[in-house]
Amino acid sequence: LEEALIFEIGSTGTTGVDFGEIPPVASRIGNLARTDSIGLPGLSEQETVRHYTRLSRQNYAIDLGLFPLGSCTMKHNPRLNEKVARMPGFADLHPLAPQSTVQGALAVIHELAQWLVTLTGMHSVAMSPKAGAHGELCGLLAIRAALEARGDARSVVLVPESAHGTNPATAAFCGYKVEDIPATPDGRVDLEALKGRLGPDVAAVMITNPNTCGLFEREMKTISDAVHAAGAFVYCDGANFNAIVGRVRPGDLGVDAMHINLHKTFSTPHGGGGPGSGPVVLSQALTPFAPLPFVERKGDQFVLVEEETAEQHHRSTFGRMVAFHGQMGMFTRALAYILSHGADGLRQVASDAVLNANYILRSLDDVLDAPFGASGPCMHEALFSDKGLAEGFTTLDIAKGLIDEGFHPMTMYFPLVVHGAMLVEPTETESKAALDQFIMALRSLAERAKAGDEALKGAPYHAPRRRLDETLAARKPVLTWADPALAQAAE
């Protein structure tokens, strides 16, 4: 399972493509021609196919098995969605093509938007954010614009301790001071502490619901009311919307803005780290500040509202977040997923996601500590901790042990509020048989870690690599390939 780098096997004179004759012309490049070697190796088509096919086989993926990463929502990616996204009528369309020639594409955006608004019970949706964190940015910018519009400068955003790292980062990124809200012992937002902190300097509260401990924030409506009463807005991190879709509408809980990770709830593939897509649903209060561009229906036509065409009622927009209209390739996939499930199926999505998580929680809470096991049913993910493992054994050991059992590890050490957290999210697309196999594997690892089985500390043994030295990587970063011969000569 060793695969050389393209720089080690390719050469700048090799290519896997060919072009027709290049007609001779008088160059318009002037004296800017690139004459030095660029250093880009080529491979023949066959070598290229082999290189990437072999590399792919060093990855784990949902297509190979259960991928219980809490908060990441790794569910089955139907191939229909891939097919739809590749229809030339969608894939081979320029973002600046005349609107008369892209009515079908605008219809897709509009249809998906209608679903998102209806499913969340909100007032509108901004479709262009490129991912969840970009959606958070969109929501906070809308909030900030709304506050500025009423001449109300506020400087603080409150974030629960258990929040995703993106929440504080986003708030800081658009100029807010970030303050933590503590959690109660049962794993939820401390309502009293929150109320105590609300005041005229607080612009927004960012809440993840269901939260990252896998629990529903029972007091959500009360929180929202308190936040609104204090003149602030409620941002909801919608990463976990898949737990409640079709069963609860965030709009009914007083949320002002919430991003939806299409790659989580609606199964667009994660692709080894993106692309995602993070549309943001907005309350009526925030709608006027939504970013450009926008798709509107006028009779039987769809209009892309952008700088050129923004009319009076979009004048208060906080501006553009991205060069074009968002992740069209993800919209087509998500819409195909949504239509496949329908209103009845999406409700079942949440039901089965939550059922699967509770099944795991209750099948393992005798061998693994479940810190909030007494706080009621979990939602779509089951949270365990390293409490009770033998001295010197950690969450990391269990995680790496799962690799040898043929599974991807669960999320480790997140949320931060739990020591040695193990966050397991099975998703609704796993069968009971798959869950039972996983439970058996995790149970056996828990028992080994409690019994102090030293072999576990060396895991994984049966993976393309053993544990990797991350410290070395960070201390002396090697981020690009350099020819060792040249590198040596330079020393």
């Binding site: 190796p41 320029h94 991912a131 994660h270 329908g342 970063p477």
Partner: protein, 452 residues
């Protein structure tokens, strides 16, 4: 509901293990008044794969796809031929359905690709290092401005009039909130770029100058003088490349002194896709690496001493640093980076140079032919595969009328710069290897009719 594998009997068994009566019992923490008792009204029920495919295909057919028409649009998104093997390979389930490679032992495929990608991008852009991708070119551009602020501790960025107006919009949006001062005005229809004016505009408050290369009107200019001027003033030069294929023919920004080079990588491997997902490229000088936003992959060894790759320098990132991160980015554009890297590997340097040469040659032929149309003047004296025509009437209307004739004939400056009516007669025309001689002739004739 074909994607949900649980049967009702599974559900019953599982509920009994949990000790719950019904699924509803698991939602007991949801306040009763917010609990929906049945499916949401007004939405259709589930549909079969055949029905969904039929619905989506009907919508797709309502669009005029680029392959169905003589096609000349660019302005930040370019139509190139992508070898079939690229799409085949990115659909390997092990790439497509993997997560961010946080567990490196079982993610070496993705990680090695990212390491190779970083090296390819750095070399293409002429920089020391590159990250593992951003959302797109426009957000990468804003991130570069923020990075320049962090490095220089100055808050004023000078943006070239040749910078893509949507990139300017994105930066303006963000700057409104962060307090950065941005200096920018619309371009004028002139064969010369605004390099001289930019040099004059740099002062001791300037964090960076941001220049697009080739610029939004297709012009190219030597960036060395502006790099020198910026550095003299303690500012950085940020260069934006929206058409990376150009760098197979023209000098790399990094080789002309740029400190940070960002770009839109869509041209290579990714395709048009109506604007997204795209691929932000981000590269810089070695000394600034710890201020770089986004994910980075680095080389290391495993416990058995074998070479391997991991995500690294994550102390810059949000999941570790939270509010002190260099960016809030979590998801990036991994699959697009894979597509870029595969396409670039297929091309290799020879293929890239051939591709660039063919683009340039066809663009020259198109420029020569189109500028013979009465009422058309070629603005550029320099260009790569995109140039600006000055028409005898407003280009917005021309573009719409051409579309009605089945010709997708460029992007009007009126659409790009709605607030600069004096350049409304400008039409930006891109010509890639996908354009044929017949396409050029069809465009010229339609334009001739339209301007007659």
């Amino acid at each position: 509901m074909r994607y949900l594998p649980l049967t009702d009997s599974d559900r019953g068994e599982m509920l009994s293990v949990i000790g719950a009566e019904s699924i509803d019992d698991l939602f007991v923490d949801v306040p009763a008044e917010a609990r929906l008792s049945g499916k949401i009204a007004g939405l259709p029920d589930h549909a079969s794969e055949l029905e969904v495919e039929r619905h989506m295909a009907a919508l797709a057919r309502k669009n005029l796809s680029a392959g169905e028409a003589p096609f000349f649009l660019g302005a930040g998104a370019y139509r190139h031929h992508i070898p079939a093997s690229v799409d085949h390979l990115i659909q390997r389930g092990e790439f497509l359905t993997a997560y961010t490679p946080y567990q490196p032992e079982i993610a070496q495929g993705t990680l090695q690709v990212l390491f190779e990608f970083q090296t390819q991008v750095a070399r293409l852009l002429g920089c020391d290092v590159a990250n593992a991708s951003m959302y797109d070119g426009s957000t990468a551009c804003w991130e570069a401005i923020g990075m320049a602020r962090r490095i220089t501790k100055r808050g004023k960025a000078v943006l070239s009039s040749g910078l893509h107006p949507h990139y300017v919009s994105v930066a303006n949006t963000m700057a409104k909130f962060t307090g950065d001062a941005l200096v920018h005005e619309a371009p004028s229809l002139d064969a010369a770029t605004d390099i001289d004016a930019l040099i004059a505009g740099i002062d001791r408050d300037t964090s960076c100058v941001v220049v697009q290369y080739p610029d939004i009107l297709g012009r190219i200019a030597d960036l060395t003088p502006i790099a020198d001027a910026a550095h003299e003033a303690g500012a950085l030069l940020v260069v934006v490349v929206t058409e990376p294929v150009a760098l197979g023919a023209i000098k790399a920004p990094g080789d002309m002194g740029a400190d940070i080079v960002v770009g839109e990588g869509q041209s290579i491997g990714v395709g048009l896709q109506f604007g997204g997902p795209y691929l932000g490229l981000f590269a810089c000088k070695q000394k600034y690496v710890r201020q770089m936003p986004g994910r980075l992959c680095g080389e290391t060894v495993d416990a058995a001493g074998k070479r391997g790759f991991v995500l690294t320098l994550s102390t810059r990132e949000q999941h570790i640093r939270r509010e002190k991160a260099t960016s809030n980015i979590c998801t990036n554009s991994g699959l697009c980076a894979l597509a870029f890297s595969i396409h670039m590997t297929l091309l290799g340097e020879k293929g890239l140079r051939d591709l660039a040469g063919l683009n340039h040659a066809l663009a020259c032929q198109a420029a020569d032919r189109l500028s013979k149309v009465p009422g058309v003047t070629l603005m550029n004296d320099s260009f790569f595969n995109e140039f600006t025509l000055i028409l005898s009437k407003d280009a917005r209307e021309v573009v719409r009328n051409l579309a009605d004739k089945g010709v997708l004939g460029g992007v009007s400056l009126g659409r790009l710069f709605p607030d600069a009516p004096d350049i409304g007669h400008g039409l930006v025309v891109a010509v890639t290897e996908t354009v044929t001689a017949e396409d050029i002739e069809a465009f010229a004739q339609a334009l001739e009719e339209e301007l007659a």
